[in-house]
Amino acid sequence: MPPMNSTIRVLSPTGPSRRRAFAAAGLAAVVAVAIAACGGGSSSSSGSPMKDGFSQAPQKSGALTVWVDSTRVPAAQAYQKAHPNVKLHIVTYDGDANGTNSLQTKVDLFNRTGSGWPDVVFSTQQNETTWAVSAGFTAPLNEGLIPQSTLSNFATGSLGVCTVSGKVYCLRNDLAQAVLWYNAALMQKWGYQVPTTWPQYEALGLKVASQHPGYLVGSAGDPWTPEIYMWASQCQGSDITGPRSVMVDVTEPNCTRMASLLDALIKVGSMSKLSVFSTAFNKNEKGKVLMLPGPAWYGGAIFDTTSGLNVPKGQIAVGPIPQWPGSSTVSTGNVGGGTWLLSAHTAHLTQAVNFITWVTGNNAWQDSLTPGYPAYVPAAKVWLVHQLSSGYYVGNPAAVLQQAAGQVWTGWNYGKWSNEAVWAATIGPGLTAGKTIVSMLPAWQTAITNYATSDGYTVSK
């Protein structure tokens, strides 16, 4: 899930200068040498007690270091407010948005130097366990640290991205099930029915293009476009079948039907090619969005915010994502949903466990402040009531969101590579140049295969 504020993602405080980047690996070495010389190096693997399913570092007192993205800073602040006695060191980083891998980069360096790991980390990505477990960075949470009664309160399947061979290595912050956002006021004014199937959706998109040119029924210009449309269409884009194997076939009918739909609407202009977080989208499409398929967090991140489309109260409604006629299962996609990781190297285990349990559970942050749909079911219930009470949405978004939470298609999973980054680099430029998505599907297939292979995956079709 990307940060809510689009300007944040432009800034990369971690980008090394051109000349230094050349020796990035070497620089790490110097740091390693320097720290080893200072006697700060320590290996947690030898002589540490095995408890709660991992070897724990010697516990010390001191500040708890928490890494969060800018959107999750209020979460850490809310914790601080509720726990004034805990010393908290809040560090803001990019949250790995759009697959920047900055967390992995840093942990890699910390692993070399033998120190420096944060105690708790928030990540916007769902694939952190694909590297963090083998890197020894994350602690298993269901082996004694967090009681099963707490874990079972998370929405069904939501801890799937955290689970590796039966062990839970992270807690889910929010769910990001895709739904159909639409402007109920405009739909009513123009006498349109909310589409329930994709063919209806396409027909309406074509109609809008001719009757109300300039208005949009969706956007296909984001890196997570495949996670909204292709995932919901049950396209074989990222079917992880084992720890290092994936099945990919994006030229099969489930993919081509959605690609043709997008192409048809892009052609007539009712499907945008801009990212919903781009300055151009915010500037040109204000008041022009009739429908927008997208994740649960679009409400707070795009419609009801001054940094987005800033749609007034009483217009936006939520409907279920359309379905393909004849499909045996109801399915939708998913765009992100952050995770909290607990470092296996932490010297403040009790505080860290307390923090991670608090921040994902029932509290001031998850109940009302968070822009995303809480993964923790009791928190989600309060959050939905709060969303409803604000009176921003038309109708009852809670029922739709709750239902969609259980409909995310399980045939699409996260590998070590970023599907968002691969789509952006492969399809993005072609889309701008006027190529159709259908014509680029073979290139997408090749790109996924290439990236998955270089991450050590076996790719089958």
């Binding site: 990307p2 993602r9 432009v10 800034l11 990369s12 980008g15 090394p16 200068s17 051109r18 000349r19 980047a21 050349f22 020796a23 990035a24 690996a25 070497g26 620089l27 070495a29 110097v30 040498v33 759009n98 697959g99 920047t100 891998n101 992995q104 980069t105 890699d108 590297w131 890197a135 210009g221 984001d222 890196p223 090619k273 801009l274 990212s275 977080f277 781009s278 300055t279 151009a280 500037k283 040109n284 970023s418 968002e420 980054a421 952006a424 680099a425 993005g428 430029p429 889309l431 701008t432 140049a433 290439n450 292979t453 270089s454 991450d455 050590g456």
Partner: protein, 303 residues
């Protein structure tokens, strides 16, 4: 036995051969320490990584072969080669040209002001100046939006389409880096003795003639020096594509250059050895190119 008047007693003589630590040594010492810590040691460590595998045993050339076989390698080489070509030609032609024009400007004040203007962008830190360009290139917010629209680019995506990238990066690099070189060249031009220029003038040379037959030949070493450093800087292209990549949400600029690929190998594919192999290749390339230019231009010969 003849005693020279300067020679002191035996004790004094041994002191003089000992050579006490001078201020010069102190000045250099700081640099030597940093050079060792951030230049020599990392390079040695990088070379070690390039020839060993994940288990720290000798791996021969397998890292080089593995990196070469990666699907991103050859495109990155092509990108960097194209970038270098455009970058070096632009730099040599414009920097030399602008410096000569500056030097021949009849009005001192205009020359001084222009020099200052050329230099300003260079005083911004590398990444910050690229940030400026992110706004310049987005037609929605750019002050140059009318120009971009005139060229047919209505969105950021159209401006940064893959075919444009090499030229865009040259523009950014030129804007940030060329000013400093223009000032250096200007200084070098001022070092050309006036009597040579006067002699050329008496022989009937105009501005163009002086530039072509006197100034440019006498700037040769400076140009070679600039090309060597600019080439090395060019192979290390990183900030521009990386920032464009983040600003475009990964649409353009990902895995564009070899240093980016090296970075990705190290931190994304968890393969420091392939990453080091690429950096060693770049090191060898830069040393070879520098050696070629130095020997061909008789760089170290006294003029």
């Amino acid at each position: 036995m003849r005693k020279s008047p300067e020679a002191g007693p035996a004790g004094a003589r041994s002191l003089s051969t000992f050579r006490p630590v001078s201020a010069g040594h102190l000045f250099v010492a700081g640099y030597v320490v940093l050079l060792a810590a951030f230049g020599v040691v990392p390079t040695a460590y990088g070379i070690y990584f390039a020839f060993s595998n994940a288990g720290n045993t000798f791996a021969g050339l397998s890292n080089f072969i593995g990196a070469y076989r990666d699907f991103r390698y050859l495109p990155a080489v092509e990108h960097v080669a194209l970038y270098e070509l455009i970058w070096l030609v632009t730099l040599v032609v414009f920097v030399t040209g602008l410096a000569i024009v500056l030097q021949q400007l009849p009005l001192r004040r205009v020359s001084r002001l222009t020099r200052f203007l050329y230099y300003i962008p260079g005083s911004l830190a590398g990444a910050a100046s690229v940030m400026v360009w992110l706004f310049m290139l987005d037609p929605t917010v750019s002050p140059a939006a009318p120009l971009l629209r005139l060229l047919g680019y209505g969105t950021f995506g159209q401006v940064i389409e893959p075919g444009h990238l090499a030229i865009l990066f040259v523009m950014i690099a030129f804007w940030t880096g060329a000013g400093g070189w223009i000032v250096v060249m200007f200084g070098a031009l001022n070092n050309i003795p006036l009597d040579i220029i006067d002699a050329a003038r008496i022989d009937g040379a105009g501005g163009w003639g002086i530039a072509r037959r006197v100034q440019i030949p006498m700037l040769r070493k400076w140009i070679v020096y600039m090309v060597i450093l600019a080439f090395a800087g060019g192979t290390q292209l990183f900030v521009e594509p990386q920032l464009i990549s983040e600003a475009s949400l990964g649409v353009a600029g990902r895995d564009f250059s070899l240093t980016q690929l090296s970075y990705d190998f190290a931190f994304q594919n968890n393969n420091v050895n392939y990453a080091s192999a690429i950096s060693v290749e770049l090191l060898v390339l830069c040393v070879v190119v520098a050696a070629l230019f130095v020997t061909r231009s008789r760089f170290f010969d006294a003029s």
